[in-house]
């Protein structure tokens, strides 16, 4: 009786203290546990989404657009293991690495709604998230096994207390408040096979791999709970990364919405992150001959004066992928501005149009010199 009572008091104290409790220990599983909390990576507790011990958050200079969701990305490695730095490629992560990406929204003004809004410090609780500020949708895991990477989608319950494995994906009906205007849409959690649709960036080997954590996209400052620091330096300091140069000498991808940076660099960064997992010379969309990776030359393979191959209705009645100076006549932008499943690009991972991303690509095409023959 007394023990039970004291346990209750402890629980109350812990809740009051928020993030003061010791972090959960991460457990590596070679099976696929049903509950996300079994991993100890990101767990709902004490009114927050808390990060487990050694779970390090990170961000990207230019992220993938997913229906205006915010994303909390983390990486964790087993004791003593570290990733090898690789320029121009994702870090070479050791066996046992687990990467998480939690998709969430700021809460809207009306109950049950979510909001289109920039990320702010007010949604953060330490390195985690304040659950009274956000609505968690899903957490995707990438686990580095001996044989390669495994991808698992977990979907958060309505109570925001647990996410469960849903390999078949899910449809979440959401209402997004955009400058006060509510908009209903179907947020799609991809199924485990569809994870490979993006993460098998080479459609011949079909090896699943992370996409974001390349040095150029990691090379930025992050506001950790313990203070702001460059992410590459932080990973080195944490023992998670070896072989890295000083951050100032490492490449850095443009920040897509940093208006002080050149439009071309930002647009190419945006296309690289949002398109090049398929649109690269070995990717699933090499069937189109359209290569949107940041390394691609600015020629027909970048869409410039290039006719479509199998776009179907996706051509929008336009003749070329990119018509310099004429964004409204460019198939690439037409497909970014669409939310029809057979027209829009990317094919997977969004139901809404990324207006700001489309505006960037519009500005890039508008500013391009040259013309296609007519």
């Amino acid at each position: 009786m007394i023990r039970a009572l004291s346990a209750g008091v402890c629980a109350l104290v812990l809740a009051a203290c928020g993030g003061e409790s010791p972090p959960q220990t991460v457990t590596l599983h070679d099976d696929n546990p049903v509950n996300l909390s079994d991993w100890g990576l990101v767990t709902a507790a004490n009114g927050a989404l808390e990060l487990g011990e050694g779970v390090t958050p990170y961000d990207l200079n230019t992220p993938l657009f997913t229906d205006y969701a915010h994303k909390l990305r983390t990486v964790w490695m087993p004791e003593g293991a570290s990733a090898q730095y690789r320029e121009g490629d994702v870090l070479d992560f050791p066996v046992g690495t687990v990467i998480t990406k939690t998709f969430y929204y700021p809460r809207g003004t009306a109950p049950g709604r979510v909001a289109k809004a920039p990320e702010t410090a007010s949604e953060r609780a330490g390195n985690g998230l304040k659950l009274d500020q956000v609505r968690l949708i899903e957490t995707r895991l990438l686990i580095r096994d001996e044989g390669g990477w495994r991808a698992l989608p977990y979907v958060w319950n309505a109570e925001q207390s647990e996410a469960t494995l849903q390999r078949g994906g899910a449809v979440k009906r959401l209402t997004l408040e955009d400058e006060g205007q509510p908009r209903d849409f179907a947020y799609i959690v991809p199924d485990a096979n569809q994870c490979k649709g993006c993460h098998a960036t080479n459609n011949t080997t079909r090896e699943i791999r992370p996409i974001g954590p390349k040095p150029r996209n990691l090379n930025k400052t992050y506001a950790y709970a313990e203070g702001a620091q460059n992410q590459i330096a932080k990973l080195v300091e944490a023992g998670y990364l070896v072989g890295a140069p000083a951050a100032e000498t490492a490449p850095a991808l443009a920040v897509w919405d940093d208006e002080s940076a050149p439009v071309t660099a930002r647009a190419r960064a945006y296309l690289d992150v949002n398109c090049a997992h398929c649109h690269n010379p070995a990717g699933p969309a090499d069937t189109s001959g359209l290569h949107l990776n940041v390394e691609a030359e600015e020629d027909a393979h970048l869409g410039v004066c290039k006719p479509p191959i199998a776009a179907g209705r996706g051509s929008g009645g336009h003749t070329y992928g990119v018509t310099p100076g004429a964004p409204d006549e460019s198939i690439l932008l037409f497909r970014m501005r669409s939310d029809a499943p057979d027209i829009m690009m990317p094919e997977l991972g969004r139901s809404l149009v990324h207006e700001e991303g489309a505006a960037l690509v519009e500005a890039w095409i508008a500013g391009m010199d040259g013309a296609c023959r007519s």
């Binding site: 078949g168 096979n193 490979k196 459609n203 027909a300 393979h301 191959i309």
Partner: protein, 409 residues
């Protein structure tokens, strides 16, 4: 070891009877689609192991999102193209009905209906068999329909047989960038392109029926792709009355195909068209054209990897009848009247007139009874269209038959 999974699903599903009226679903009794089966099939695709046979019972099953298969060596089998129907009429997400990124794949005896985008896409791999599959947009020809019905791309060894493709807004059967391909005994109707072979090396297209499409059978090459195509045999097909208006989206390669085209070769090399019945295609029974008359303005020179000219097109032994009497193009219509009179018809073979300057290879040889060839003189703004010698004595050897390197799995 093979494992067969009978995805019987609900007993109720078995009770749903198929229309069984020979492929014309719109004429059959309305059938309620079963949405509860979606998770069963999706889970089977996620859990599939090499060698598995995923057997789908008779019934009409509804899906709201694309399906995806990523495991090699899987067979998906229904109970017949009119008995097992995967309906995507309620689809809200996904660019295909079923997307396969795997080798040694067989799909047979079922239908995929009313997808938002492509019905079946198989993207890169080896040894793909598509047999007794029906892909259909049940509303008939419509620009809003998905682009492709049956769409293998970048596959080595493809067999498509005994299948039916209806009302795709681009091509009913579209084989792209593949190698060693057999397309036989299929039926393609009410598509923009009935059967299209594009950037493919080694294709045999025979025993098919292509009718009521905009263009019956297309053999195309497009630029900027890893593989230029060549060596296609189109034979013993019935290609008639492909007179459906072009409902393809502007900007696509097929948008330039005039309604009423039997067979059209564009920019491709080594194509042999023989022993077909080709009739009553109102623009022309056969069109041989270059990239320069396909609606694009890009220019290529000999240093480029892409060859925009058709070469070594061999036409012989076909049974031509009718056709060319009402071309879907004002200039061609005027030309017809001018050259052949108000009730006359254009010759069986139209050639746009583009040829590589000084090229050693003949563009085409037509050794086909009294079939005539008209050079449209497109390079000179169609100023001097004329009947030309088809080059019946030109030295084009018949092409070898395709053999699928691996036995059909």
């Amino acid at each position: 070891m093979k494992k067969t999974m009978i995805l019987a699903g609900l007993a109720g599903a078995l009770g749903l009877s198929a229309c069984g009226d020979g492929g014309d679903q719109s004429a059959g009794p309305a059938q309620e689609a079963d949405a509860s089966y979606q998770d069963t099939l999706r889970t089977a695709l996620l859990d599939a192991q090499p060698g598995d046979v995923i057997e789908i019972p008779a019934g009409k099953f509804s899906f709201d999102r694309s399906l995806s298969l990523t495991t090699d060596g899987v067979t998906i089998r229904g109970q017949g193209m009119d008995e097992t129907i995967l309906s995507f009429a309620d689809q809200i997400a996904g660019a295909e009905g079923l997307l396969v990124t795997a080798s040694d794949f067989t799909i047979e005896n079922l239908a995929i209906e009313d997808t938002i985008g492509d019905a079946l896409k198989v993207n890169e791999g080896k040894n793909v068999v598509i047999r007794g599959l029906r892909t259909e947009w049940t509303n008939g020809p419509d620009t809003e329909n998905g682009a492709y019905g049956i769409y293998p791309v970048q596959i080595e060894n493809v067999l498509i047989e005994d299948s039916v493709a209806i009302a795709a807004s681009d091509a009913g059967i579209y084989v792209g960038q593949s190698r060693n391909v057999i397309v036989r005994n299929n039926r393609a109707e009410y598509n923009v392109a009935g059967i299209e072979i594009e950037n493919t090396i080694g294709a045999d297209v025979y025993g098919n029926v292509a009718t009521e499409n905009t263009g019956g059978i297309l053999v195309f090459n497009m630029p900027h792709l890893p593989q230029p195509g060549h060596t296609t045999r189109v034979y013993e097909n019935r290609i008639f009355e492909n007179n459906t208006r072009n409902f393809g989206a502007e900007g696509t390669a097929v948008a330039s195909v005039p309604a009423g085209t039997g067979v059209i070769i564009n920019s491709n090399d080594a194509v042999e068209i023989f022993d077909n019945e080709i009739s009553n295609n109102k623009t022309a029974n056969v069109i041989v054209s270059s990239y320069y008359t396909s609606g694009y303005t890009e220019q290529f020179d000999t240093a480029d990897a892409f060859d925009p000219y058709p070469e070594r097109i061999y036409v012989h032994g076909n049974d031509f009848a009718g056709g060319g009497g009402s071309p879907d193009n004002m200039d061609l219509q005027a030309l017809r009247v001018l050259k052949f009179g108000p009730t006359g018809r254009l010759p069986d073979v139209l050639w746009d007139g583009y040829a590589r300057e000084g090229g050693a290879d003949p563009v085409l040889c037509v050794d086909n009874g009294d079939a005539e060839v008209m050079n449209l003189d497109a390079p000179n703004d169609f100023s001097d269209p004329r009947i030309v010698d088809g080059g019946a004595d030109c030295p084009i050897e018949p092409l070898p038959a395709v053999s699928l390197a691996a036995p059909a799995p």
